[in-house]
């Protein structure tokens, strides 16, 4: 038992929650890994629309990952359909003369808008988290950011590398999952005053 200082007069006043001293999830995850394979084989398939209806943010994450795939494939393999960017718009070179891939520009903007919106929402949740939880979330996000920076640097040297492209998409998906989990989990805990 942990050290306690608070005085109580009945068992009903004792805390119901005593968190384990260590994170037990890795052991559980390892144990259910095999079960996961079995479930994947035996679970009936459901329509994709219904799956995403349960959690719209996961649908959003998946959609964004598709956008990101399209963006990278478009950059790497699509014929360079170009538009003349207006002066002052993203992609406009000094003088407004440089051509920019049109699809890439549009997809970049959509992705950035969705991500920025989620980041703004989560920033408020983060500020309200207990310091320990906030540190964990921020550390996870920082790890993802570092990984992405490395991948982007590698892609800069080898833009056609499909594996690196997939890794980059995965890093965005992972980030979206973390952000969505924070927005949902901590959002509703805060709502119930936990």
């Amino acid at each position: 038992m942990n050290e306690h200082e608070r005085k109580v007069a009945s068992p009903g006043e004792l805390p119901q929650e005593i968190p384990p001293a260590r994170d037990l999830w890795p052991g559980i995850a390892a144990a259910i890994g095999a079960a996961d394979d079995v479930r994947a084989v035996t679970a009936p398939l459901e329509p994709a629309r219904r799956r995403f209806a349960v959690h719209p943010l996961l649908g959003l994450a998946a959609a964004i990952s598709c956008v990101a795939v399209g963006m990278w494939l478009g950059r790497v393999s699509a014929p360079p359909v170009t538009v003349a960017a207006a002066p002052g718009e993203p992609g406009a070179a000094p003088g407004g003369a440089a051509p920019v891939p049109a699809a890439s520009l549009a997809l970049d903007a959509r992705f950035d808008r969705a991500r920025e919106e989620l980041l703004r929402d989560v920033a408020e949740r983060l500020a309200a988290l207990p310091p320990e939880s906030r540190a964990k979330v921020e550390a996870s996000l920082a790890d993802l950011q570092r990984a992405r920076t490395d991948i982007e640097a590698a892609l800069g040297r080898d833009p056609g590398n499909a594996l690196l492209q997939a890794m980059l998409v995965n890093s965005y998906q992972d980030e979206m999952r973390v952000l969505a989990a924070v927005r949902d989990t901590w959002g509703y805990q805060e709502d119930v005053g936990a």
Partner: protein
């Protein structure tokens, strides 16, 4: 009244989110199940620690509880409380392990009514002291006091979890309360 209504609405919202997580976990989404684990681990571990009186065993039982829960998710009834369901699984795990280790429960047979208000001690004591007094009880009495006294289950619910008669549950609780009072009063639990 508005607060009560808001709290009710929030409780419904929480239940809805939990239902959504359960639905996703049933389809094999381990991330959703991890969130359920994060939400309930403290309460499950608290019960295991109090019933097992051994931190290592308590962690082992907690892990086993969530592993079994994952495998049995299809049998979880929507709209029932996930926390109660997990506690039922945890109690099963603990009782099974006790049987394997030949640690039978001791049950007394004299029944007495349980009134949670009567749990109140004459003088408040430190949490650690009360935990120690409860921990020093014989397993049967400790289990019942943990389930009814700390986690608020009714005699019927606790008896069903432990696989004993409701009258036996009442008797155990009566005995547990008397022993705790005596041990706190004598300072044995310090």
């Amino acid at each position: 009244m508005a607060d009560g209504g808001t709290a009710g609405a929030r409780a419904v919202a929480v239940a809805d989110i939990e239902d959504a997580l359960v639905a996703r976990a049933r389809r094999g989404d381990a991330r959703a199940f991890e969130r359920l684990y994060r939400e309930h681990a403290g309460r499950v571990h608290g019960l295991c620690l109090r019933m097992a009186r051994d931190p290592q065993l308590a962690e082992d039982y907690t892990q086993e509880t969530f592993i079994r829960a994952w495998r049995a998710l299809d049998r979880f009834e929507a709209r029932s409380r996930m926390s109660t369901w997990l506690h039922r699984i945890a109690v099963n795990v603990i009782l099974e392990r006790r049987r394997r280790r030949d640690l039978p429960l001791e049950f007394v047979e004299d029944a007495a009514e349980y009134d949670r208000d009567n749990d109140t001690l004459d003088t408040p004591v430190e949490e650690a002291e009360l935990e120690a007094a409860i921990g020093s009880l014989p397993p049967g009495a400790r289990d019942v006091l943990t389930l009814c006294g700390i986690y608020g289950y009714t005699h019927g619910e606790a008896a069903a979890m432990l696989g004993i008669a409701e009258g036996t549950c009442k008797a155990q609780l009566h005995r547990a309360r008397a022993l705790v009072r005596a041990r706190v009063a004598s300072g044995e639990a310090r």
